[in-house]
Structures are given as structure tokens and as C-alpha cells.
């Protein structure tokens, strides 16, 4: 799946569920758990630069179902 396809699905679903970004005073504003460097590494990952995360090892027997 491409980035553009992902964005397109996001926009379709947002319309379906009637989502609009909340800005009212009662909304919950909670820390997203990750700093800017991590977010940028994730964005890069989606663009094919996977250097921000370790290579994925093949599964070991103990982790299979």
C-alpha cells in the first residue's frame, strides 16, 4: 500500500464516521507517548527509510502460536 492510498482511506473513513478534530474546552488532550524524534523516525519508516528501527529477526519457535 502506498502513502497516498493510506491517506485516501483515512479521508474516506473520516467521512464515514463523521470525525472532525475536537477543539472544545471539554476535550481530552493527552500526551501521545512518543517524542518528535520517534514520530519522525516512524514517518521516515513509511517512506522506506527503516534505519530508525532495528532490523526484524525471523520468529523463534517459542513465539509461534
Amino acid at each position: 500500500m502506498t502513502r497516498e492510498e493510506f491517506h485516501s482511506i483515512w479521508d474516506e473513513v473520516a467521512k464515514e464516521v463523521g470525525y472532525v478534530e475536537s477543539t472544545d474546552a471539554d476535550s481530552v488532550c493527552i500526551h501521545n507517548g512518543a517524542d518528535e524524534e520517534t514520530i519522525q523516525a516512524l514517518i521516515a519508516y513509511g517512506r522506506g527509510d527503516k534505519s530508525g528501527f532495528p532490523a526484524i529477526s525471523p520468529p523463534s519457535a517459542s513465539t509461534v502460536a
Binding site: 500500500m1 502513502r3 492510498e5 493510506f6 491517506h7 482511506i9 483515512w10 474516506e12 473513513v13 473520516a14 464515514e16 464516521v17 463523521g18 470525525y19 478534530e21 475536537s22 477543539t23 472544545d24 471539554d26 476535550s27 481530552v28 488532550c29 493527552i30 500526551h31 501521545n32 507517548g33 512518543a34 517524542d35 518528535e36 520517534t38 514520530i39 523516525a41 516512524l42 514517518i43 521516515a44 519508516y45 513509511g46 517512506r47 527503516k50 530508525g52 528501527f53 532495528p54 526484524i56 529477526s57 525471523p58 520468529p59 513465539t63 509461534v64 502460536a65
Partner: protein
């Protein structure tokens, strides 16, 4: 932290989902996700995410990758692999591995989940999926457990944090 644009939020979500997909395909190399399966999970994950934000009136200044991973994992368990119990353990391992990837990255390797804690989390997630809700935990619970853990990350200080009094006696 300043608010991200919607495109930046979507890009962060795409990257987060890509990491989970890579982990999933590495765990299940004989049956990598097909394009249709990927589209199904993507749609379901985004739906869960936006419905969560709407239901609880959450402002999204930036993507919460922990949250998005949990919703993707829930979509995998409840949609794609719902009728395939043999794969539930694989899905849970993928979810936990991806959550740990982000926690490790965000804490520069300082926060790692203890093996026994991970083992219990895995059992709780599996129990929930097997219909033993009294002994289980779902994706909201999993998300909040990682959220609270992430707040202990020294790199998160200055944003939202626990009041730590450890070592002040």
C-alpha cells in the same frame, strides 16, 4: 509539543502501520498479507482510531503510535484472523513487539518491558480473545498500560508526566 498537521499525523500513522505490517510478515513469512487484507486492516484500524477520538472527545495534537498499534492489532485479531485461533498468538506477539519497538525508540533504549510482565500481558490478551473476559485485557487496556509506561520515559518529561517521588525519602 506543537500540533502536527493532519498530513503529518497520517504519515506517522502510515509509518507505524508499516512497521507492524513488516513484523507481521516476518512472523508469518509463508502467508504475507495480501493487498486486500492490508486494505481491510488499514480501513478497520483507522475506523477504530477515529471512532475512539470521537467517542472520548480526544484532541489529537500528534499521532499516538501506541494507540494506533493497539487498534491495528485489534483489527487483526477481530477482523482478519477472528475465525483463525491458531494465529491469535502470532498476532499478539506482533502487537507486543511493535509496541516495544516504539517504546524502545522513544526512550533511547532505557525502557524495556520485563520478560515476565510481557508474558502475563500476552496471557491476558489471549484470554480476552478466547472469551475469558474476567481474566483478560482488551486493546484499550493494553493501550493504557503502554501509555502509562511511556509517561515514565525521561524523554517525555515536560509534556505530561507522573509526579515522581522515588528516591526523595
Amino acid at each position: 509539543m506543537s500540533n502536527a498537521t493532519l498530513d503529518q499525523i497520517k504519515d506517522a500513522a502510515f509509518g507505524t502501520f508499516s512497521r507492524l505490517k513488516d513484523r507481521l510478515n516476518a512472523q508469518n513469512p509463508e502467508h504475507p498479507l495480501t493487498a486486500n487484507e492490508e486494505k481491510l486492516i488499514t480501513r478497520e484500524t483507522i475506523k477504530r482510531h477515529l471512532e475512539h477520538l470521537k467517542k472520548h472527545n480526544v484532541q489529537q495534537g500528534q499521532l499516538d503510535p501506541f494507540k494506533f498499534i493497539c487498534w491495528a492489532g485489534g483489527s487483526l485479531l477481530d477482523s482478519l484472523w477472528h475465525s483463525d485461533p491458531v494465529k491469535w498468538g502470532v498476532a499478539i506477539d506482533v502487537i507486543l513487539d511493535t509496541l516495544e519497538d516504539v517504546l524502545n525508540k522513544a526512550s533511547r533504549g532505557k525502557l524495556r518491558m520485563p520478560r515476565n510482565t510481557r508474558h502475563l500481558l500476552r496471557k491476558l490478551l489471549l484470554a480476552e480473545k478466547q472469551g475469558e473476559e474476567r481474566h483478560g485485557i482488551g486493546m484499550n487496556g493494553l493501550y493504557m498500560s503502554f501509555h502509562c509506561c511511556a509517561l515514565l520515559n525521561p524523554n517525555s518529561f515536560g509534556m505530561e508526566k507522573w509526579d515522581l517521588e522515588i528516591g526523595q525519602a
